[in-house]
C-alpha cells in the first residue's frame, strides 16, 4: 500500500468518525409512524392488572442517567401496587430499552402501544428522543410521561411534562443572578438544541433586564478542550457564567476554570444540567461552592422527600443519591394514578378530560405539584442550589410558591421574538 492510499484511508476514517460522532439524526421512521392511521386502543382493562410501558435508555451513552430514572419509576409502581394499585388494578410494567437512540425510542414506543397495549408510557430523556416519540404517541393517541427539564416551546396533548420548562428553571436562575448583582454574563454550552434555545431565551431576557451577554460559546458534545473558552471568559470581564454544558465536558470545563484561579467568589457558575448524580463524576473538588438551578434537591425537607430518599436508598444502596429527573419521574407515576382515578377510567380521552379540570395534584417530594390542564406541564417550585463539599446540594433560594408552567413564555413580553408571537 502506498503512502498516499494509507493517508487517504486514514483521512476517510477520520471523516467517518467525525460524522458518526455527531450522532442523533432526525428520524424518518417516526414520521412514517405519524402517518399511519390510528387504530382503536387495544388497552385491556378487563383483568385485575393494567400494563404501563417504561422506556428508558438502559444501554448507550445516556444509560448512566436514565437507569436511575428507570429505578425510581419501578419504585413508584411497587409502592402504588403495595397500596392497592390504580382503580383496584395492579400495575404491570413492561420495560423497553431506548438504547440512547431516538429512532429506537420511536420504534419501541410503537411496540409498547400496539403490541403490549400499555395504558401509558413513562420515559425519554434527551429532547431528540422526545421529539422522535411525539408523532408516535399522537398518531396512536396514547400517553407519554416525560420526566426531564427541557427547552420548552412544546405542548402535545399526548405528553405530560413533569420536569421543568424554561420559566421554572432558567428564568428564575437569571432572576436570582440579577438579584445578586451579576450584570455581565458569559454563556457556555454544548452544541445542540437545549443550550442553543436556552441561550436565545437568556439573550432576550438580558436585553429586557439591563444585563449584558459578554460572550456566548459552544463546544461539540463531549469536547474536553476549554483553554480558549476560559481565556475568553476571563478576558470578557464577566460577573458570572451561565453553563449549559452536558455530561463529561463539565469535568474539563471546571478543571480548567479552577486551574486559572477562577472560583465561585470571583466568577460564579450557574449550571442547569448538573444534579446530585453528576457531581461525583465531575469531582466535588472541582465544583463545590458553584450554583445550580433545579426544582428538587435530595436535601429538601418535606415528609414525602424524607420517605422517598430513605426508600430509594433502602432499595438500591445507601450510597445512592436522588436527583431532579428521578424525582420528576417518580412524581409522574403518582400523577398518572391521580388522573386515572379522577377520570375513573384508563381511557386516554377520559384522562385528558380529567386533566382539563386543573385539579390533578400530588404531594410530591419537591412539594405540592399541580398539572396544568392547558399545557400538560406541571407547576413546580424553582430552587437555586449550591454544591456542598459532600456533593449534595443546599437550597440557597426558593420561589415563595409553585410557578405555573409557561412553555411558550406567553406571559413574558420580552420573549416575543423567540416564540414568534
Amino acid at each position: 500500500m502506498s503512502a498516499r492510499t494509507t493517508v487517504s484511508a486514514v483521512l476517510s476514517l477520520v471523516a467517518a468518525l467525525t460524522i458518526t460522532g455527531c450522532g442523533q439524526r432526525y428520524d424518518p421512521q417516526a414520521e412514517a409512524a405519524a402517518e399511519q392511521v390510528p387504530q382503536a386502543s387495544c388497552v385491556d382493562t378487563s383483568g385485575d392488572t393494567v400494563k404501563v410501558g417504561l422506556l428508558n435508555s438502559l444501554s448507550g451513552t445516556m444509560a448512566v442517567s436514565e437507569t436511575t430514572v428507570n429505578r425510581s419509576l419501578n419504585m413508584a409502581i411497587d409502592e402504588i401496587n403495595a397500596d392497592g394499585g390504580v382503580l383496584g388494578k395492579q400495575i404491570e410494567p413492561v420495560t423497553e430499552d431506548g438504547a440512547s437512540e431516538p429512532t429506537i425510542f420511536a420504534e419501541r414506543a410503537g411496540k409498547l402501544i400496539r403490541q403490549d397495549c400499555v395504558a401509558a408510557t413513562f420515559g425519554g430523556w434527551t429532547s431528540a428522543s422526545r421529539k422522535a416519540m411525539l408523532p408516535v404517541f399522537e398518531a396512536q393517541n396514547s400517553l407519554l410521561f416525560y420526566p426531564v427539564q427541557y427547552e420548552g416551546l412544546e405542548a402535545s396533548p399526548n405528553i405530560f411534562y413533569s420536569g421543568a420548562t424554561t420559566n421554572q428553571q432558567i428564568i428564575p436562575a437569571l432572576d436570582w443572578m440579577r438579584e445578586q448583582g451579576h450584570k455581565k454574563i458569559f454563556l457556555v454550552g454544548s452544541d445542540y438544541v437545549f443550550p442553543r434555545t436556552a441561550n436565545r431565551i437568556i439573550n432576550a431576557y438580558a436585553q429586557a433586564h439591563d444585563m449584558e451577554i459578554v460572550g456566548e460559546e459552544y463546544v461539540p458534545m463531549g469536547s474536553t478542550e476549554f483553554s480558549t473558552i476560559v481565556n475568553k471568559a476571563m478576558a470578557s470581564d464577566a460577573d458570572a457564567v451561565f453553563n449549559t454544558l452536558n455530561g463529561d465536558s463539565n469535568v474539563a470545563f471546571f478543571r480548567q476554570y479552577n486551574a486559572v484561579g477562577l472560583d465561585p467568589e470571583t466568577m460564579p457558575v450557574m449550571s442547569v444540567s448538573i444534579a446530585e448524580e453528576e457531581v461525583p463524576g465531575i469531582g466535588v473538588d472541582n465544583i463545590q461552592g458553584q450554583y445550580v438551578a433545579w426544582d428538587y434537591y435530595q436535601t429538601i425537607q418535606t415528609p414525602t422527600n424524607d420517605q422517598f430518599v430513605a426508600n430509594f436508598k433502602d432499595r438500591y444502596g445507601q450510597n445512592q443519591v436522588t436527583s431532579d429527573p428521578m424525582e420528576a419521574a417518580y412524581t409522574s407515576v403518582y400523577l398518572w394514578k391521580a388522573m386515572v382515578e379522577e377520570a375513573g377510567s384508563f381511557d386516554v380521552a377520559a384522562v385528558q378530560e380529567a386533566v382539563d379540570t386543573g385539579e390533578i395534584t400530588y404531594d410530591a417530594p419537591e412539594g405540592e405539584v399541580t398539572v396544568d390542564g392547558e399545557t400538560q406541564h406541571i407547576s413546580k417550585t424553582p430552587r437555586i442550589g449550591q454544591i456542598r463539599d459532600d456533593g449534595l446540594i443546599d437550597t440557597v433560594w426558593e420561589a415563595p410558591e409553585p410557578v405555573v408552567p409557561d412553555p411558550f413564555l406567553e406571559t413574558y413580553p420580552w420573549a416575543d421574538s423567540i416564540t414568534g408571537a
Partner: protein
C-alpha cells in the same frame, strides 16, 4: 498582551496533549503500518490506572508519580498482547488491522464499563497542580505546565532512544526498509514487538496526563484517537520531528481560530487546512527519503 500569552500557552498546551496521545501511534503506525484504533483505549487504560492507583494509595501526588511508570507498563503489556495474538498475523495489510483493532477497541471499552462502571470517575489533582502558576505575569494552569514538561521529557527520551541506541537503529532500519533490515540480520519480529510495547506504553502515559485535565470514562480514548491520527498523518508517517511540528501547529491553529470564531468552526477550519495541506504534500511535513517503491 496577557491574553496573547495565555492563548499561546493554551495552543502549546493543547499541542502537547495531542503530541503525547500521538507519539506512540507515530511509532506503531510509522514502523509497522498498523492502523491501531485501540491506541485510544490504551490511553483510557492509562487513565484508569491513575484512578486505581489513587484509590489504593490515597495521596494524589504520590499516586501520580507511581501511575506514570505503571501506566507505561500496563499500556505496553496490552499492546504486546494485541501484537502477539492478532496483529502479527496481518502485517502488510493495514486495512485489516484497522477493522480488527476497531473491534478490539470496542471490547476494551465494554471491559472498562464492566469493571469501573459507565459513569466517569474522578481522579483528584495533587495539591501542587490544582492552581495557577504565573508565567510572564499571566496565570496558567499548573496541571498543563506539568503536561507540557512531561511531553518534552517523553519526546526527548524517545528521540534519544531512536537516535542513540541499537534498538533505535534497528527500529529506524525496519521503518526504512523492512526486507533489507531482515536481510541484514535484524530480527524484525522482536523489533516489532518491542516497538509496539513502547508505542502502546506511551499511550498509557498519555492517559495518566489526560486525567489531570479531563474526565475519565470508558469512551475517553475515542475523544483523542482521531486527533492523534491527524497529528501523525500531517506530521509525516513515522516521523517524531514531524509529529512535534504538526501537534504544535494544530494546537496553535485550533486555539487562535477558536478565539476569533467558535470551537466548532475552528475545528472545521483546522481540518480543512490539514486536508488542503495533504493535497499539496501527501507525505506530511517531514518525510524520509527512501529508495523504496512504496
Amino acid at each position: 498582551m496577557e491574553i496573547l500569552i495565555s492563548q499561546v500557552f493554551a495552543g502549546l498546551s493543547l499541542g502537547s496533549v495531542l503530541l503525547l496521545a500521538a507519539v506512540g501511534l507515530s511509532l506503531t503506525f510509522g514502523q509497522m503500518g498498523v492502523i491501531n484504533m485501540a491506541h485510544g483505549e490504551f490511553i483510557m487504560a492509562g487513565a484508569y490506572t491513575a484512578f486505581t492507583v489513587q484509590q489504593v494509595l490515597g495521596s494524589a501526588g504520590v499516586s501520580l508519580l507511581v501511575s506514570l511508570p505503571l501506566a507505561f507498563l500496563i499500556g505496553g503489556t496490552l499492546g504486546l498482547i494485541l501484537e502477539a495474538t492478532l496483529l502479527r498475523r496481518m502485517y502488510h495489510r493495514p486495512l485489516d488491522t484497522l477493522l480488527v483493532t476497531f473491534g478490539v477497541s470496542l471490547i476494551l471499552q465494554q471491559l472498562a464499563r464492566d469493571i469501573f462502571g459507565a459513569p466517569s470517575v474522578d481522579v483528584r489533582l495533587p495539591e501542587f497542580l490544582s492552581g495557577p502558576v504565573m508565567i510572564l505575569g499571566t496565570p496558567v494552569p499548573a496541571s498543563r505546565v506539568f503536561i507540557l514538561v512531561l511531553t518534552v521529557v517523553v519526546v526527548a527520551g524517545l528521540s534519544l532512544l531512536l537516535s542513540k541506541t541499537s534498538l533505535g537503529r534497528r527500529i529506524r532500519a525496519v521503518v526504512q526498509s523492512r526486507d533489507l533490515a531482515e536481510a541484514s540480520g535484524i530480527s524484525s519480529r522482536r523489533t516489532d514487538a518491542l516497538t509496539f510495547f513502547i508505542g502502546s506504553g506511551l499511550a498509557g502515559v498519555a492517559g495518566v496526563a489526560i486525567t489531570l485535565i479531563g474526565s475519565t470514562s470508558p469512551t475517553l480514548g475515542t475523544t483523542y484517537i482521531v486527533d492523534a491520527f491527524l497529528v501523525v498523518v500531517a506530521g509525516g508517517i513515522g516521523q517524531i520531528r514531524g509529529a512535534v511540528i504538526a501537534a504544535a501547529g494544530l494546537g496553535l491553529l485550533q486555539v487562535f481560530f477558536e478565539f476569533g470564531t467558535t470551537a466548532s468552526i475552528a475545528k472545521v477550519i483546522v481540518l480543512v487546512i490539514v486536508v488542503a495541506f495533504l493535497q499539496i504534500r501527501p507525505q506530511g511535513i517531514v518525510a524520509t527519503q527512501t529508495r523504496g517503491l512504496a
